[in-house]
Assembly symmetry: C2
Homo-oligomer: 186 residues x 2
């Protein structure tokens, strides 16, 4: 006899993302997600293929949010200003959602990976802005340099890898300044 669903994919993903952020990826168990949405673990398999699939959907959710935040940052008429704003937004996203951020740049099994089309769309504001600032055949290299720095900085900050004292905000400002002047064509 048909029964109405007692939960939904949306509720599962959103509970999963909340649990990820509060407890970390290791504690993101099917059982805990199930309890959070009011069912038992086996029921989740009606909505997601397995735990990796749920992780992929959580990543999709997060990367879209990061993309929206980068897009909003790149909305002035000044591409240099936009690039700075995107770097700040990138770091802010990592600070606000450290676990989700970590997930996006983690090495995961193929089937857990965020959808390629969503990843590409999230990076579009960066490419778009650097097209205005660099000679065409260097846009991709310039984007990779900037994103590598921004990601590395955020990842090290989250990992607590800046252990030698000093002012981390100052290092961020220094790096951003130098990077922009180095990467951008005159």
């Amino acid at each position: 006899m048909p029964t109405p669903p007692r939960t939904s994919l949306e509720a599962i993903v959103s509970a999963g993302r909340r649990l990820l952020e509060s407890e970390g990826l290791e504690s993101l168990s099917m059982q805990r997600v199930a309890v959070a949405v009011g069912v038992r673990a086996p029921s989740l398999y009606k909505h997601v293929r397995d735990r990796g699939d749920l992780i992929r959907l959580i990543g999709n959710d997060a990367i879209q949010e990061l993309g929206r935040s980068l897009d909003a940052a790149a909305s002035s008429r000044d591409p240099r200003r936009d690039l700075r704003a995107m770097a700040v937004a990138h770091r802010a996203f990592a600070g606000a959602y450290p676990q989700a951020y970590r997930l996006l740049f983690a090495r995961l099994p193929e089937s857990w990976q965020v959808d390629a089309s969503l990843a590409e769309r999230a990076s579009e504001p960066i490419i778009r802005t650097l097209e205005k600032l660099t000679a065409g055949e260097q846009t991709l290299e310039a984007a990779r340099t900037v994103v590598a720095w921004a990601h590395g900085f955020a990842a090290m900050e989250l990992a607590g890898a800046f252990r030698l004292g000093g002012d981390v905000d100052r290092a961020f400002a220094f790096g951003l300044d130098r990077l922009l002047s180095a990467v951008v064509s005159d």
Copy 2:
């Protein structure tokens, strides 16, 4: 009645690191490490406090190897050349030991973290080289900028995050060039 140890900390750490690299951190279970050294899981607790402690010891082993590799790279008389060589060595280490590399920059519980003194020693060649290349009060910021870029590049490469085609080696060379000229005082 006393019995001689049937394994050793050294054997455990080295089997653990091998298992980490071949199967990943998730598969680094006490049971599998125990089998690899010829005992049962409970016996490992005579040598390490818990799984996190074993992970810390594996990280210590890896960071010392990375440090030796950076140190060997920074052995010419030309600090610019040394900096390039260290960036190449850093990337090579990540490529050779992706799982151990990932571990070193992962966000881990405090007690799993590599010893601070070993982390500091591993970064010493970078600081030493940048001291020769920058005004004193900018050395730390310059080092953080270079390391953030090198780490971000390696991490993205390992994560398969360079998805827009193009030549990744070329992006590495481009980034390194631009970064050096931007970070180094004239």
